[in-house]
């Protein structure tokens, strides 16, 4: 027979559910969303989306560099899940420019030579902007092998990125019926030459019986698409780029073999009113 003293210390009583619920409610009832919580979430969403897009672009570049003809399409806002682990590029979403930051279309755009050499010429592009007066940016023209140094020519301006500010297109070289255009745009209020694959952009326009090159820009989607057609293989190479500050970032490249007549509707530049002069 055992007595209560033999049973050891009594088992502690559990807290009652009602009492615990009351204590828990009392502990956190004053906790509310801090000011700016929603804004911080939205900022986090935007930041995460930028990183995903950059990852997609990086993987696309890597795939094309390593695999050649791989076709990879990374549409905005729908980056595949497997891209999440890729490293981030310094990719920023296009910032809509206010109208006052616009480069005045049709305004004075001047190119001046500041030096020259046998194979390299240096120039300065001067543009009058609405918001920050006249701006200038130096740039260098490297002519293609076998051609003499070209004199850059302003082709015109168009809102290619669809952000409300004009991009300026300048022809920097010409070879065998093919022209090469570079682009300048305002980035954070500074006139800047646009880069593509780490070098100043040179879009090929025109061509010969061997092939044609051209491009189009879609201000609604903010994409610039380059086309290269080779008559021999009847192959069409399409590159889709997105504007990212001072860069055009490749998001997809596609190789197509044409099995029909020459796609006449694609043979010219389709970007705003380009060309507006001299081209």
């Amino acid at each position: 027979m055992t007595t209560p003293a033999d049973q050891g210390p009594s088992r502690p009583a559990s807290i009652s559910p009602d009492r615990l619920t009351r204590l828990l409610n009392g502990a956190v009832q004053a906790v509310t969303a801090p000011p700016g919580a929603y804004d911080r979430i939205q900022q986090g969403v935007r930041r995460r989306r930028s990183v995903r897009r950059a990852s997609a672009a990086l993987l696309a570049v890597a795939a094309l560099a390593g695999g050649g003809a791989a076709t990879l399409v990374a549409a905005a806002g729908s980056a595949p899940a497997q891209l999440g682990a890729a490293a981030a590029l310094p990719y920023t979403e296009p910032v809509p420019a206010t109208p006052t930051a616009d480069v005045s279309p049709g305004g004075p755009v001047v190119i001046r030579r500041v030096g020259n050499a046998m194979m390299t010429s240096r120039f300065v592009l001067m543009v009058r902007t609405v918001s920050s007066g006249t701006q200038s940016v130096p740039f260098t023209v490297k002519p293609k092998p076998g051609t003499s140094p070209a004199v850059p020519v302003v082709v015109g301006s168009a809102d290619a990125a669809g952000d409300g500010a004009a991009e300026i297109f300048v022809q920097v070289d010409e070879s065998g019926g093919k022209q090469f255009w570079t682009i300048f745009r305002l980035v954070s209020g500074q006139l800047t030459q646009v880069q593509m694959s780490g070098r100043p952009v040179e879009l090929a326009v025109g061509g010969t019986v061997l092939g044609h090159s051209w491009f189009s820009c879609d201000s609604a989607s903010g994409e610039l698409v380059t086309y290269g057609y080779r008559t021999g293989g009847m192959s069409l190479v399409t590159g889709t780029y997105r504007w990212a500050g001072a860069s055009l970032v490749l998001v997809s490249k596609q190789h197509t073999t044409l099995r029909g007549p020459w796609p006449a509707e694609y043979t010219g530049v389709s970007c705003g009113g380009l060309p507006q002069s001299a081209a």
């Binding site: 502990a27 956190v28 509310t32 929603y38 911080r40 979430i41 986090g44």
Partner: protein
């Protein structure tokens, strides 16, 4: 209180999701991690993740998704905190840690202090049962354990809290 958010329309309702549930989820996170700053981080991250999920596909129950994410992130936060404590230099005598400073207001709450002294699984089960008022089966799904395990966690947690909160009115 579920909101069905199919496709693109879902993203438009994201704000409604925030307005209806942010405070409640923040309170849940406070009870789980015992620290206001960490709780805010956890809940904001959960909302960012649910936004991403809604961007990609319809989510049947965004609230359940959010709650699950908060519980998982709270667990991760506690694990990180444990690692930090293991590797942290010993504080000088009488010097308060940064963590203590961050949650000084909450620490005044005896119940929050008591919750921090019971094992994480027991804390989750007790809070989800008696604060969030979820049925045991749902808690089991959320914690990834059996209903029997949930009952065990709750029973042991209640016993410990009974001792720790003996003198609290």
């Amino acid at each position: 209180m579920m909101i069905e958010l199919p496709g693109r329309q879902g993203l438009d309702d994201f704000t409604a999701l925030y307005v209806r549930h942010y405070d409640q989820l923040l309170r849940l996170a406070v009870l789980l991690v015992g620290d206001m700053a960490a709780a805010e981080d956890v809940v904001q991250e959960a909302f960012i993740r649910v936004h991403h999920a809604l961007d990609r596909r319809p989510v049947a129950s965004p609230l359940a998704y959010l709650r699950q994410t908060v519980v998982n992130l709270a667990r991760s936060e506690l694990r990180r905190r444990l690692v930090r404590l293991r590797h942290a230099p010993r504080p000088m005598p009488d010097a308060a840690s940064a963590e203590e400073g961050a949650c000084v207001a909450l620490s005044r709450q005896e119940v929050v202090r008591a919750l921090r002294r019971i094992p994480a699984r027991q804390r989750e089960a007790v809070v989800l049962r008696y604060w969030a008022d979820l049925p045991e089966a749902e808690i089991a799904g959320l914690m990834g354990v059996t209903v029997g395990a949930v009952k065990g966690y709750i029973s042991r947690g209640m016993a410990k809290l009974g001792l720790l909160l003996e003198d609290v009115a």
